[in-house]
Symmetry: C2
């Protein structure tokens, strides 16, 4: 096994040219430039001796002719709009170079992890969790083109969707940028991912009474905006008392209706989410949230209701795979790594449902992601590639 | 002096026909239907023997040929969008019927009190507080047509703007619906207005750091939305300790950027206002607000800044006029009236700068205003008309 990190970096830079935007890329799923990137990647897989094709949902599978046991490795090729050059691309090119190094690794590129059309449609299709009916109704969240049209325009119509051959693989590995600043902040080079957090996303709606901001006394008001502030302040008080060590919670949106300076808001809509790797913590925080909403309805003359928008399941990394990656990291960067959860969702969480899966992080400069300034030093990228390859070797040998 | 309340009500119902919308009216400033209503009103003034014209800003002045001392009375004719039939119209038609009853009353209709193009442009023009430069830059807040174009299309271009003849008038009187439920709630028929609140309108901007809601730990965050919630919760705690008896305060809008479920808000914009008739209370609350913002900047890792959008001056009703209206109310509806501030702004606040001014309220059913369901019973309208006329008679005699 020999990893050529110069060629690995060269491939990353070539890929950066597809949809280059400032120092990042703009490569939305199934755009013309995204499809060119996919075809280039298929060509590269074939150059390395893999049998590669794009399937009917846009996934790429490169099958390694070497005899098994095999590993599967990969990530996604499309980007968020005007985003970074490494998010997803890193894991794909790293998987390519695992195969190029001589290891019996199949390479997978999962379509639309970034959610231009849906939620993890590539990895869900590959693991048998995406129905035709869902494909029928999905459309691009930015410009509304249907997924069926996009698949047709990408030249993929009529192709079968590939399904995972569970018996073929010993494990799935995904390398990714951290998208946070934990590694950088501690001067570490590698994160061995213990699990991928679940996101529990809620909509809180508060109904009050729209009224004139001058002629309605404070005592008469049923102010949905004020009730929203008090509820969110209560959540801010209660959550730290019940959360886990690495739980995060976020109010991403507060919309008051009608939103005019001199009108008491009659309605408030709040988008609130929390994330954790531990299902018990997620359930406990649901209880806290429900109590805060009930308390609001006892105190206020408004009606708050809670609606679950999505409640995903945490994905725990396989212990043996974690150990192999940890040993590889300790061998190549002694003391320069840590175990850590992934706060973001990744394709690996769906692969974890059908085989042992694990992830490995490299540092993100300033923790920036989903922005064109996202970056990682070439030295850290090369170190990550070497650790991943050593980890893969240990998994196959184990 | 004889007030014909049947004709008064008949005129109100005729006016309701201009731009009828459900049970209310849709009569935006300078719309075709608004101009037809203005011309109809000029005709009615002339029928009652007044010399009437529309000036270059859309104001109507009906001069009474009777010898002085004169009173001035009036309000506005345009409506908010899809709003009520009485807001403004009531004060204009009441002024017309003061003149029709034989009193030496001039009638004024002030353009655009409802602010389709600007802030009180009619009464400010009449009282010498509107410059040509402001007219040059104003445009319709809903559809963007410039005020100059609207004036030209209304056929008013080139007409002079009328200015108040201060020496001609003893006082200004404006009758209006309450737009609240204080009178109705206490079974009262008349409100003698003690003053018109000032509105101090602020924009609070909070700058944080936009970031990934999954990969950024709670300790690392600079969450502008959370800082906004904490600041508004602090204001909610502090204001009741320092406000006046009838102070009201309102957060009409909270906008978090970018407003996505999985992104920590990097910026928050808040529209916050308070209203009171007492300048000392307004100043005290500014101090409280500034302390809350300073406290936020001490506690949070975000930067909150405060910008005054408008700081108006409270208008206090003339004591002698209040007394005349109070005596009239007590004579006609003994015990059925109260003194009260106006929580909304009115043209009278600008007239109060150039002559003694006062206002009188009639009840609003369910306190509704700025909505097509706004209403007042015909009995209460007629009672109001009779009290206003009796009050005007006392002012002229006093």
């Amino acid at each position: 096994m020999t990893v050529d990190t110069d060629r690995f970096l060269a491939d990353l830079h070539t890929l950066r040219g597809f949809g280059a935007f400032k120092t990042g890329v703009h490569r939305p799923t199934f755009s013309e430039v995204d499809m060119r990137a996919r075809h280039w990647f298929v060509d590269r897989l074939r150059e390395e001796g893999l049998e590669a094709e794009i399937d009917g949902i846009g996934n790429i599978l490169g099958r390694n002719p070497k005899s098994g046991p095999h590993l599967l490795a990969g990530s996604h090729l499309e980007s968020q709009n005007e985003a970074g050059w490494l998010d997803g691309a890193l894991g794909c090119v790293a998987a390519l170079h695992l195969a190029a190094s001589g290891l019996p690794v199949d390479v997978a590129v999962f379509a639309d992890e970034e959610g231009h059309y849906g939620s993890f449609i590539g990895s869900r299709s590959f693991t048998g969790l995406l129905e035709e009916e869902e494909i029928d109704r999905l459309a691009n969240r930015y410009h509304g083109k249907t997924l069926r049209e996009a698949i047709r325009d990408a030249g993929l119509e009529g192709r079968p969707r590939l399904a995972v051959e569970r018996d073929r693989y010993k494990a799935f590995l995904e390398m990714h940028i951290e998208q946070g600043r934990q590694l950088e902040g501690q001067g570490l080079k590698i994160g061995v991912v213990t699990g991928i957090v679940a996101i529990w996303q809620w909509k809180i709606t508060i109904e009050g009474q729209q009224n004139h901001a001058g002629t309605t006394t404070m005592a008469e008001r049923r102010d949905a905006g004020l009730a929203a502030v008090r509820l969110l302040a209560a959540i801010d008080q209660e959550f730290p008392r019940h959360c886990g060590e690495r739980t995060v919670w976020t109010t991403g949106r507060i919309a008051l209706s009608p939103g005019a300076p001199s009108i008491i808001p009659g309605r408030a809509e709040i988008l609130f989410q929390y994330r954790d790797v531990d299902i018990e913590v997620l359930r406990r925080l649901e209880g806290v949230l429900r109590r805060c909403v009930a308390e609001s309805n006892r105190r206020e003359r408004t009606l708050a209701t809670l609606e679950a928008l999505s409640l995903s399941t945490p994905a725990v990394s396989d212990a043996g795979l974690q150990e192999a990656l940890a040993e590889a990291a300790e061998a190549l960067v002694p003391g320069g790594w840590q175990r850590m959860p992934s706060g973001a969702g990744h394709d690996a969480q769906y692969l974890a449902r059908v085989m042992p899966a694990a992830m490995m992080f490299v540092p993100s400069i300033n923790g920036i992601s989903h922005h064109w300034t996202e970056d990682t030093s070439e030295e850290d990228l090369a170190t990550g590639m070497r650790v991943l390859a050593e980890g893969a070797r240990r998994v196959l040998a184990g």
